[in-house]
Amino acid sequence: MKSAVIIFPGSNCDRDMDVALKKFGFKNQMVWHDDQEIPKSDLIVLPGGFSYGDYLRCGSIAGKSKIIKSVIEFANSGGLVLGICNGFQILTETGLLPGVLLQNKYQKFICKNVHVKINNKENKYFKNIKKEVLELHIAHNEGNYFCSKDELKSLINNNQIAVTYCNENGKESDEFNPNGALSNIAGIFNKNKNILGMMPHPERVIDKSLSSDDGNFFFENLIENLK
């Protein structure tokens, strides 16, 4: 399976994603933001970081970058596009995913482990995954998902809510919502479920020595589903 990780100036989880993808068997290539073409891939990843410094709204400049046209074309033709953290922010800025990521409710950067519940397994990302709840890691200042009432209704009706913040038993409540996200939303799909944006980082939890190894379930499953 081939994957491509896009590097924007200011991306800083590009290497971590590269390490994770390779560990689980992807042939990964790094693609520079100023390039126009993306090599043939089964998966494109927009990694975390602070693209172009994020001095404007997070992800907004990346959403207008040279490479992003190719990403949009790839996504619109049904290709798998995964955006993590800043990558999720970029996907909302391009309009590939609805809504916006606001500043965290308590106006602080938050770095810690969280649990998320998988809400929909009818897609390439989570089909056959052996878990209902994953322990992943978040590190962000703007992860407070928000969208209009109509958009939320549409997200629910189309089963687009991918993962939601919860406790280790899958219970969702304000107490387990780290950033104030609407309906505890940690990640969403587009209607076709080929695009996934989420705030938690599966690539930071891929072995026992790290704060969790639940990222393994995510990546192992993903490559299996792509075969």
């Binding site: 100036p9 200011g10 800083n12 989880c13 290497r15 410094g53 950067f109 938050i110 790290l210």
Partner: protein, 731 residues
Amino acid sequence: MNEVNEQIAIDHGLKKEEFSKICDLLKRTPNLTELGIFSAMWNEHCSYKSSKLHLKKLNTKGKKVIQGPGENAGVIDIEDDDAIVFKIESHNHPSFIEPYQGAATGVGGIMRDVFTMGARPIANLNSIHFGSPQHPKTKNLLRGVVKGIGGYGNCMGIPTVGGQTSFDDSYNGNILVNAMTLGLVNKNKIFYSKAAGVNKPVIYVGSKTGRDGIHGASMASAIFDDKIEEKKPTVQVGDPFTEKLLLEACLELMSGKSIISIQDMGAAGLTSSSIEMASKGNLGIELNLNKVPCREEKMTPYEIMLSESQERMLIVLESGKEDEAKKIFDKWNLDFAVIGKTTSSKKIELFFDDNIVAEIPINILAENAPLYDRKWKKTKLPQKIKFNKDDFKKLKITEVLKKILSLPNISSKEWIWQQYDHTVMGDTIQKPGSDSGVVRVHGTNKAVATSVDSSAVYCYAHPLTGGKQVVCESWRNLISCGSKPIAITNCLNFGNPEKEKNMGEFVECVEGINEASKFLDYPVVSGNVSFYNETKDKGIKPTPAIGGVGLIKDYKKMITMSLKNNENLILVIGKTEGHIDQSVFAINILNEKKGPPPDINLLNEKNNGETILKLIEEGLIKSAHDVSLGGIITAVSKMAIKGKKGFKLNKLKVLINKFDYYFGEDQGRYIIEIEPKNLSKVQKILKDNSVHCDEIGLVTEKDIILDKEPIIHIDDLVKSNTNWLKEYMDK
């Protein structure tokens, strides 16, 4: 151009005698630009004029030392061609004036020091000290500093894996912000600042030069007064995004062979970077200031030379490599300009609008800089306090313990470190809030442990003992996670060196640091001095901060401090005499601030530490933690809190008052958790190495059980320990 006179020199922070020395050396009066250059090079921050004589005595050599003090950072060997570049630096003065930018640029500056040498930063730490929590400025300063540190480090994508925060009245008018960075480099590909060869192009890269931070280093060399707010323009503004680009661009250029020398523009900007490179290479340097990329219009040579705009580097390239280098910086959208060349004149010569605007022999600026042997006063060891043990009878151990765990200086700092990205780069295997932060050496089985420590209370009571203690504490923190300590960096934060008492504190702390460093073979490889931490005649407590680095050869053998399994035994390693003077118990519970700090026995320190490493190597230790503030029971409680376990303590078998035993702060001690079946093996190793040990209790599921006291639940201790800072900051 302005006529320079003595008053203008004094306004630049120079002393009368220093000005006449300049005139003598130059055999003329300097012009304003030249005066600016002298003031930048001869201030305390850049010249180390009060500290140099004493720093020279430090133990800086060792088998693992590749580069000691004198470069941008120190370098140590961690085997297999890998080396760690590391240093700590202060940004105290700017952080008090503008906490966010002050702290942010402190972090940016220290990272540049590390990647200037060719190393990719892999871990950040910080040591931050604030005034009393009740002081009206403390909360905002703390909030700003933490946001600034996070804002810069998080954007750079370097994990912040450890640190230390304290509160003390003596920092009310002078907070301390010390930032430390570790970088990883191949030991055959280290870059230095020494220029070589004549007529080599001098390149400016990074951000443009603006009017920010002019005289920053001079400001950091002065005491504060009521008008300190007016100094805001001397604080630099950080741009972590540009620094991230600069990091990637520099590392890309460094993978080739075109760099002769490289130096970041830190304190005193273009002035000190160009002079240092030329001085080390015994060369001259010629710069055309019209070529310097400027952010603002009509900047004068004076402003260009003294600006402390951030995210800039100066490089001496091999001739003919300019285009190749420029391509890389263009790719990363950074300024790149050839601004001059190296010369054989041994002078710094500056041109602007086709005129020569400064011409100074470099040896005058560097080697002839003033050097002071300041007067200093010795601090006598205070008399031991005779505590009235009857007073203790009113106290309950569990109540005292809960109170200690909730003290500002003991309570959990999670509110702080949760705002730092500590997991980016995917190699953090021990996070903040532990004895050490631990990161794996990417792609290997090795890991590097690192911590930063200071003990201002002990250093204030008796600087010599305090100096030794901080080094030992650092050593213990590294041992506790199973790493072999290799070397240290020090950030020496002190008051006004022109006062005999403050100077004495400096001299004796350095002596203590040196003694411990020698005995433990734990050399000092880099560091920084920050004097003049004084406001309106009130100075800080002497606060040397020690950053330590150790190596774990197989990261799977790393030890954490969380208690693991019920029924496991809890042992105290090292002898307990019950030293109460200067302890948290004495100061905060008994309200007794006098007396000597606990004594340091370096022989036991070394032996105990090395024996712990043997036990870890044999796989006999389940968890470990050093005993520090709050004594044995506070240490065990922190292990319990981390592991969400309880513990039961046996009735004491020693003839020491139980308060002295549990809360005393004798040094050189550790708490370890072992499996009962291994007790005799452990005891044999301890005995063979003549290490004292007390078996004090065992691990329980959730209950804290102490002889004769009501049982409490671990959640009570968790609450005591975690609530204070959250409530203080968010309420």
